[in-house]
Symmetry: C2
């Protein structure tokens, strides 16, 4: 299965013509999962090769405007698109984000009188008090929804921190497990780890035929790792007829942060195939970055090293850092400097600088 | 005083790379007034020759997302800009819109924990039940704000329809009077008339010197239209030394609509120098336009004729109508057809098709 990350917006704080506000798509064969949805995301989607109608899940790292102000408009436009394929039952779009997202969407859709043509569900995870300075914590009274569901809204879950694992389990399906973990920022922020499940080895049917094993209960036993004794007395071992399994890929996408809350994060991001980390300001601006709850390239690389990530993508750049294609020789804010700053620290394969519309493939892993 | 309209977004329903969502600036010398603020408006402002920091007033025609989803983000970005000129007392930004806008802004800014560096005030006007089908009216319980003001918010007015004039007086200052009037749409929608005040004629000082009139009470009398008898017995008539006054200009900007509520609108828009009217679909799609609460070019021209408007600007086009610069020969949705449809009906000077970044000057009127 092919898998790619497509960066739709790589700018911090606000959208500009050079870097749109935060948005990133993890595309697998049929599906698009959107991570963050800053203002302008729907227009960036139109400019990209992706199909907006393929978005089935949306994950929001935190409630700063540059990460969610595009969401009501995106849902309205998805609805206009899906009206053309009316008739069949629409699957709900699942939206995951910090407590307060449900109210933001409900109020925005209600006051704009937006009637969606598909159902949506907001699952909220509840931050803890150590994720931001006190003034960044919103009173839970203000994040709670009063009143009934929006007409197209279905009841979502409220997810609390797992006190043992120190994370939030958002979704588990046949292919993926997605968890959220806590970050430190001006307001509570989160990262996501998308773990593809290991694909168990298939039976080598040709070899089974050769050996004279007939389809039936023996097949099941062999697939489960057991050995089978044939009528002719020959023992067939599982390892001889079952192909090796393919390990799942791991993609980790962090929201804005200037640090972690606990070392559970390293465990969750351990050996990430791709780790997307913010680097709002360059290393010379570290004090300012920390003051505003942000990271620099070497901070990102340090974290990537601590979890032995294989590939590091820097993202969420202050608008002062123009894309390299627009860089002038005398520009004192040089995005390529940021790449060097991270690369001089990072011990993994490669540091990639995110730009709007950049696609980063996540190749299938070698059989283990 | 120079005056121009700059179209930042001319598309209906949602923003696209060709036509951004609704936004339009009326620029006078120092000030920018923004009419509607669809998603992406702040990025369009950056692409234009206008300075976002010059926006002092914002008017929202109605609460559909394509007219207001860009507002929270715009305010946040204005705040980032104004931080660089900190120190001096910031004037509040006045925002005018239908009931519900205050809640939308308050919830959006509160949940995103946005701390603006300037004060803002939302003045709401209250629609009447005949402005939309029943399902388009929002229960006033849902538009009311509970709780206190946002930290940077100042108490705004709630403005009810003037039962005699059939309009809402939003603002009256030394230069302008701005009124809102009701339109019929899927949800309550409004238009705005911006009436520049007549500039009284100045004294012709050279001629006064020639005639031997000295500065003092005589100047005042002459300016007030009275005659003055000089010491030498000569009578000086006001009309001889006072220049003729300059009539004020009138700009009318209508929100989405498929019709009017009463004929007060014609009176308010009477002899508009520039009238901006929506034309979402072309004349061949009139039934569909009406069904969705929208207008066609000849409907816009009919209304412009009914108030003897001098110039008609068509705006708010379905995204199927590409800008003329991108038009292909075989495109069945031809924006130039829409211009012809309006021009064949319109009795005023000119029909203009709005495009993103088009500027339309409003010339000073001849002295009356
Ligand atoms: Zn951010
Ligand atoms: Zn943030
Ligand atoms: Zn509209
Ligand atoms: Zn509308």
């Amino acid at each position: 299965m092919s898998m790619e990350l497509v960066f739709l917006g790589t700018g911090a704080a606000y959208p500009s013509p050079y870097r749109s506000a935060s948005a990133l798509v993890l595309r697998t064969e049929g599906d698009c999962w959107l991570f963050d949805c800053g203002e302008g995301t729907q227009t960036q989607l139109m400019r990209s090769h992706l199909k907006a109608g393929r978005i089935t899940k949306i994950f929001i790292t935190h409630l700063h405007g540059d990460h969610m102000f595009g969401l009501p408009g995106l849902l309205c436009t998805l609805s206009l698109n899906c009206s053309t394929t009316a008739g069949k039952e629409q699957q709900p779009v699942h939206i995951y984000g910090p407590a307060g997202l449900r109210k933001f969407l409900r109020v925005s859709l209600e006051l704009s009188n937006s009637q969606l043509l598909f159902p949506y569900i907001v699952h909220e995870f509840v931050p803890t008090a150590d994720q931001s300075p006190t003034e960044g914590m919103i009173d839970s009274v203000k994040t709670e929804c009063d009143g009934e569901l929006h007409p197209q809204e279905q009841e979502g879950r409220t997810i609390y921190l797992d006190p043992e694992e120190k994370c939030y389990t958002l979704l588990e399906n046949e292919q993926f497990v997605v968890k959220a973990f806590r970050l430190y920022h001006r307001i509570p922020s989160f990262g996501f780890t998308v773990q593809e499940r290991e694909r168990p080895g298939r039976l080598n049917v040709e070899k089974l035929k050769e050996l004279g094993v007939r389809p039936g209960p023996a097949y099941g036993k062999l697939k489960n790792g057991e050995s089978v004794v044939l009528e002719n007395g020959v023992t067939v071992h599982s390892a001889d007829v079952v192909q090796t399994s393919i390990p799942g890929r791991k993609v980790c996408i962090l929201g804005d942060c200037s640090g972690l809350i606990d070392d559970a994060v390293q465990r969750l991001c351990w050996e990430a195939d791709v780790l997307v980390h913010e680097a709002t300001l360059d290393d010379t601006q570290k004090d300012k970055a920390l003051e505003h709850g942000h990271s620099t390239p070497s901070m990102a690389a340090d974290f990537a090293n601590s979890c032995q990530a294989k590939q590091l993508v820097l993202n969420h750049f202050s608008q002062r850092y123009k894309p390299s294609s627009l860089l002038k020789d005398d520009d004192e804010n040089n995005i390529m400097e940021m790449k060097l700053q991270a690369a001089s620290v990072f011990k993994g394969n490669e540091v990639i600088i995110a730009e709007d519309f950049l696609s980063v493939g996540v190749p299938i892993k070698k059989k283990s």
